[in-house]
Amino acid sequence: MSSASRTDAQQRADDIRVFQRELERLERDGIVRLSDAQRHALEQHHERVLAEYARTFDIDRDTHAKQLSLGMRVASFLGALALGASVFFLFYQFWGLLPTTAQVAILLIGAIGTFLATIALQARDSTGYFTKLAAMVAFVCFVLNLAMLGQIFNITPSDKALIPWAALAFLLAYTCDLRLLLAFGILCVVAFVSARAGAWGGLYWLDFGQRPENFFPVAVLLFFFPSVISHARFTGFAAIYRVFGLLTLLLPVLVLSHWGRVSYLAVDSNVIEGSYQVLGFVVCAAAIWLGARRQWPEVVNTGVTFFVIFLYTKFFDWWWEIMPKYLFFLVVGLTAILFLFVLKRLRASGYQLFRSAV
């Protein structure tokens, strides 16, 4: 199964449903009128196409199937996490009772075996749900493999372990079209690049989280990566890169805007916090503008969410102590209404405001 064609097939099926509904309306209003032969031919054609797609790609043929699919996605996500944890604790439960060679052999066979099983399952699983479960277990087995080798042989912890973990996660994500594995791969890359950035700044690598600026380089890399390398063949991959890029940038900015003392900058904490508060608003506004211009809804949504968070945390800092609570919440409520008006206007104008600014 080609991942791109499954997406295409689902899109085509959705288009057919929309077309059928609109045709019904047009006929009812007397705008068009198909002959019985034409209608029959059209219905048969659509039925044939949908049946073929359903058989080959296991697409959702109607709204009910779509709702069930959402449930299956949630179930497979939770199942994948739970199975991964189960494998981890299974090994933990028994590893001490095994000789060292058996421990190493089990770890290696577990990693390779689950990887092979995932690829084999992917060839048969048209839905992708079971592949996701298997891929998650394979990834956990490989993480466990290296982590336990470190524990068994008392190896000095190293950020280099994040490279092969990321590599396997990406291999599984791109081969099996799995966004969950892509997210894990991205998290490994975030940790590795940030740890390297921290190490270049003279820190012990495990302390990279104590200087939030370490996350900035990888945030920029992630955000623009899908613009450099097209991800059109992979459903939602580009959006995930961009969202993780924004989260990796905006979460540290949020932290720095409240705890300036954890910054690399050797200036007064108040100055640092003020600067990052301004930067936070600027980045959010830029994200909303860029997202609207490029039609990246996930970027607009992330920008809006963080804009609100930055705004409300400032409100809290400024007014929580000095204002009566009814007034504080009134201001928050009025701001939300103002925000709704702005967004409504943006939506109504089809982002024309942004487009005309370019």
Binding site: Y92, G96, L116, F142, F153, T156, P157
Partner: protein, 292 residues
């Protein structure tokens, strides 16, 4: 010709990735343990108590020992009276040897004057750096800690004698005796006594491989305040402080697994180990024996 990624290539790439990663890790282990160990110490349960195991202890069948180290603070304010054994010789004191020149040698930028307006902020922001640490087993640092505990016990006994019938002095003397016993029979004799960036230079300074081990660990500079500012630091952690017990020695440790000595301060050490540190300064247990 357009290159097409196939399932076969995915299979090959994945298996190669897993095998090569494992091979690199295992070759590193083999290299660490090849030839003569860099150092080899005879440690007992005092220096290597069994690890508590953490939150998931009941789900973990593995047994690990914790490399327990201390630093001696003899000159700093921490060593001033009244005597607190945990400040004088613990793993969170200010080592005597960790001063401004040592921090400079370790690569920390300590050029900001201590009385500068931004000194407090500058040094507060400094984070740990990984360096090489020298672990001394049963050497001068331990002897100094023991002598100090003994002096304290002696002075408390004399005070009790000078104040007959007073409960407070009796309690203080009893506590001091208890501390001395802890120092002499229970506490770790493994002290971090130096640090550097060059293993060869450190080994030349401490050539006795049976009493001095080089390990990796982290040091963090600290601006000491009080009557006068001074620069010191903390040894925050050893990079590898947990040593796995191989299956071959499991029988020795299993009976003790349920009676962790850390919570039985009166229990004398029950086992001893020969612990080697290899070419990559990573430890492993070479031999184990029971103390009768």
């Amino acid at each position: 010709m357009k290159f097409a990624w196939s399932r076969r290539l995915t299979l090959i790439a994945g298996i190669v990735l897993i095998l090569v990663t494992n091979a690199i890790a295992l070759l590193g282990v083999a290299y660490n343990r090849s030839g003569e160990p860099e150092s080899q110490l005879q440690l007992t349960e005092r220096e290597l108590p069994m690890s508590y195991g953490g939150e998931f202890a009941s789900d973990n069948s593995g047994i690990a020992l914790t490399l327990t180290w201390r630093v001696y603070s003899g000159k700093t304010s921490a060593a001033s009276t009244p005597y607190y054994p945990y400040y004088v010789a613990s793993n969170f004191g200010e080592p005597d040897w960790l001063d401004r020149s040592k921090l400079t040698e370790l690569g920390f930028d300590v050029s900001t004057p201590l009385d500068a307006a931004n000194a407090e902020r500058y040094y507060e922001k400094m984070l740990p750096k990984e360096v090489l640490l020298v672990l001394e087993f049963d050497g001068p640092a331990y002897q100094a800690a023991r002598a100090r505990a003994r002096r304290h016990a002696q002075s408390q006994t004399e005070l009790m004698a000078a104040n007959p019938g007073k409960e407070e002095f009796k309690q203080r003397a009893d506590r001091a005796k208890q501390d001395l016993r802890g120092e002499e029979r229970l506490g770790s004799r493994l002290f971090v006594i130096d640090a550097g960036l060059d293993a060869t230079a450190l080994r030349a300074r401490y050539p006795d491989r049976g009493h001095y081990a080089l390990v990796r660990g982290q040091i963090r500079p600290v601006l000491g305040t009080g009557a006068k500012r001074y620069l010191t630091g903390y040894v925050t952690k050893l990079s590898v402080d947990s040593i796995n017990v191989p299956f071959a020695y499991r029988d020795v440790f299993e009976p003790f697994a349920k009676t962790n000595r850390q919570y039985q301060s009166e229990v004398d050490p029950r086992y001893e180990t020969t612990t080697a540190f290899g070419k990559r300064l990573e430890p492993w247990i070479v031999a184990v024996g029971l103390i009768r």
